[in-house]
């Protein structure tokens, strides 16, 4: 145990910060409140995004063809990238425009 006790606390704290960033933010992005997507016309809304299958969308790799509840039109949508959105925006956008909860 003596080796462990002697370990630099700063390294441990940085590792904590790193792991927190690595896991918390990405987990929020994937787990919820609900995934936020952007359609080709730029409308942003929360939808249900199941990797394995979908009933109301046609999956085209990272894109899906589904109805946009904001613009009321059929379009290609893709999930927002983490670099495009902050944690607060994910929550705010997801609360603003909700799609029907069918995958």
């Amino acid at each position: 145990m003596s080796d462990l006790e002697d370990l630099d606390e700063e390294v441990k704290q940085m590792a904590r910060d790193y792991l927190d960033h690595r896991t918390r933010r990405v987990a929020l992005f994937y787990l919820g409140p609900r995934p936020v997507v952007r359609c080709r016309e730029g409308h942003v809304f929360a939808t249900t995004w199941v990797w394995g299958g979908s009933l109301k969308a046609i999956r085209l790799g990272p894109w899906r063809f589904q109805r946009c509840p904001v613009g009321k039109h059929w379009t290609l949508v893709r999930r927002l990238r983490l670099s495009e959105v902050t944690e607060e925006e994910v929550r705010r956008l997801a609360a603003q425009h909700e799609d029907v909860p069918t995958p």
Binding site: K12, M14, Y18, T23, Y30, G32, R34, V50, L82, S83
Partner: protein, 172 residues
């Protein structure tokens, strides 16, 4: 919820019981663990999905598990290791998806990027112990219990992981 488990054979109350006993209390924890172990968020999600499917297959004997949380942790880490091996086998240079996903994120400190470079060289077991110890606040003995390894082995993984991280930071 973005991550959804829908066992095709699950029916009514069984599905609801599985959801409340396994998915709701453990899915996020397992995803965070998987994100710590593998570099690709998609792979992490698949590892959790596989873990939950394994749990569903063992649902009949779920009540007999003495520590379901530790059992899920072990299965999840095993799935991560398995997927990491598959990725290495089929992709010569697996892309650093996590770094790509978090690129240009303003709050990511430059030193954390240095740490990230060192972190990439840690083995899955070292990552799992480091995560459970630092993020979940488990003792080395508890980490060993969660992962089904001996405390000495867990201590060794943790020591080596921290040593590699420290070396990278001191070298910069």
């Amino acid at each position: 919820m973005g991550l959804t488990i829908s066992p095709v054979t699950a029916k009514g109350s069984e599905e609801a019981a599985f959801e409340s006993a396994v998915v709701a209390p453990h899915a996020e924890r397992l995803l965070r663990l998987a994100l710590a172990v593998v570099d690709d968020p998609g792979e992490a999600q698949d590892a959790v999905q596989e873990t939950l499917l394994v749990a569903w297959r063992h649902w009949a004997s779920w009540a007999r598990l003495t520590n379901p949380s530790a059992w899920l942790t072990r299965v999840c880490v095993h799935q991560c290791v398995h997927r990491r091996r598959l990725l290495k086998r089929w992709v010569f240079w697996p892309p650093d998806q996590w770094a790509a996903a978090t690129a240009n994120v303003p709050e990511l400190d430059v030193r954390l990027l240095d740490l990230h470079r060192a972190y990439r060289h840690l083995s899955p077991s070292q990552r799992a112990v480091l995560y459970l110890h630092l993020q979940d606040g488990l003792s080395v003995e508890s980490c060993a219990g969660q992962l089904g390894i001996r405390p000495g082995t867990a201590r060794s993984h943790l020591g080596r992981a921290l040593s590699k991280l420290r070396k990278e930071l001191l070298d910069v």
